[in-house]
């Protein structure tokens, strides 16, 4: 198949199972959201997918070919992460040049244009940049390498609101000009909810959601009203969590509501992606 196949990836650190038989596919030219709580295994997965870390079990295939130790396949992927791999004294402009040598088709013109938009001084030493500007430099590289699969691990770490806004704009522009696959791993779900076409949720080392954003939200409801009536209404439905305030209750339902009668005093609203995520990944505990 065209794209990336992740097959039964398992990873242990000592006795702890970080990833437990993860499997999904990434299609060409799509924007994915990889969501999960701290320590869910997102970064480990992205590192395995780009062969920086090896899995204990399973394999990653790109266009049907195993990527492990395969430089040609790995040249089609780029991982932007928190880790700083650059020599201390290196200047931003040098890092751009090195990247251009490593990745065919690095768009230097775009990189310089973006540097200007973000006010990044390309003559500055990377090690002397602030956390925010280190992130900006890495983002600029990620948008400028013209590879088919780009993985962004916490892409807006340390960025202020203006720079985050600018980044999302430039991401969309770059994607429109030159469609390719982006996988965005982030905690800031609200900011990317409209951007991601497909959602992958990892919880406790397992993949619990792998679906189109629109389809997921179609079946995500918040049922609220008096506790007794809410409980009665949701009986038998897939309730994934609830909130309570005095005798008022909101129950979160993920799944179809069937044709049951809605009591007068119960109201039904849709859940947003963030609320759904929180309720799916809180370990089955209610937020009460």
């Amino acid at each position: 198949m065209k794209g990336i196949e992740v097959k039964q990836i398992t990873k242990r650190y000592g006795k702890k199972v970080i990833l437990n038989g993860i499997g999904f596919e990434l299609e060409p030219n799509k924007i994915y959201g990889l969501l999960g709580r701290n320590g869910a295994g997102k970064s480990t997965l992205l590192n395995i997918m780009t062969d920086r870390v090896s899995a204990d079990d399973g394999e990653i295939r790109l266009d049907g070919v195993d990527i492990q130790d395969n430089d040609q396949q790995l040249g089609n992927m780029y991982l932007m992460s928190e880790v700083d791999l650059y020599p201390k004294a290196a200047k931003v402009s040098q890092i751009f040049k090195w990247t251009a040598q490593l990745y065919n088709g690095f768009d230097m013109e775009l990189a310089m244009k973006l540097a200007q938009k973000f006010d990044l001084d390309v003559k500055a030493q990377f090690s002397k940049l602030s956390t925010g500007y280190r992130t900006i430099m890495k983002l600029i590289i990620a948008l400028s390498v013209q590879v088919e699969f780009i993985f962004l691990d916490e892409p807006v770490l340390g960025l202020d609101a203006n720079h985050r806004d600018l980044f999302y704009k430039e991401l969309v522009q770059s994607y429109s000009d030159n469609p390719r696959t982006f996988v965005i791993s982030t905690h800031l779900i609200e900011e990317v909810a409209q951007l991601i076409e497909h959602v992958l949720v990892i919880d406790q080392g397992r993949l619990i959601i792998d679906d189109e954003t629109e389809d997921i939200l179609k079946n995500a409801y918040m049922i609220s009203g008096a506790e007794e009536e809410v409980d009665q209404y949701v009986d038998g439905l897939n309730v994934i969590g609830s909130d309570k305030l005095a005798s008022l209750k909101a129950s979160y339902v993920f799944g179809e509501l069937d044709n049951r009668v809605i009591p007068d005093r119960v109201s039904i609203d849709k859940m947003d992606l963030q609320t759904l995520f929180i309720n799916l990944t809180n370990g089955g505990q209610n937020n009460e």
């Binding site: 924007i31 806004d165 999302y168 704009k169 969309v172 522009q173 994607y175 429109s176 000009d177 609200e190 900011e191 990317v192 909810a193 409209q194 951007l195 991601i196 076409e197 629109e214 939200l217 179609k218 609203d269 849709k270 947003d272």
Partner: protein, 127 residues
């Protein structure tokens, strides 16, 4: 244009409705070009495929049309078509709701008629 992402309405429908609103209020005139998919996506951080879905809905309703290689334009007669559709929706969307609420609040038919009359006066004073 404004999008309320906490709304229960899918984003592509919001995109369609926002453009429709702009045509209705005269923000985009007939024959004028509407912003491109990329422009809208970029400005509001919305996936281009979602924006395109909203645009295509308007194309299928005949409100906007594609000019190959140039972009999307407001169709001739779009404004009138929107008004006609909204007039048809008026009864279901507003009248029924007002009457239902009035009944719940024990407001009599005469009282409701009087309030509507008052509303007309208010509107007359405003303009």
């Amino acid at each position: 244009m404004q999008f309320n992402f906490n709304s229960t309405e899918p984003i592509y429908l919001q995109v369609a409705r926002q453009i429709e609103d702009a045509i209705f209020t005269g923000g985009f005139h007939e024959g004028e070009q509407v912003p491109s998919t990329t422009e809208i996506s970029r400005e509001f951080h919305i996936n281009p495929a979602t924006v395109l879905k909203g645009m295509n809905l308007l194309v299928s309703q005949g409100l906007i049309e594609k000019h190959r290689g140039v972009g999307m334009f407001v169709s001739k007669g779009a404004h009138g078509q929107i008004i006609q559709a909204r007039q048809q929706d008026f009864y279901e969307k507003y009248v029924i709701k007002v009457v239902t609420e009035a009944v719940k609040l024990d407001i009599s038919k005469e009282e409701l008629n009087r309030l509507i009359e008052q509303g007309y006066q208010y509107e007359g004073n405003r303009s």
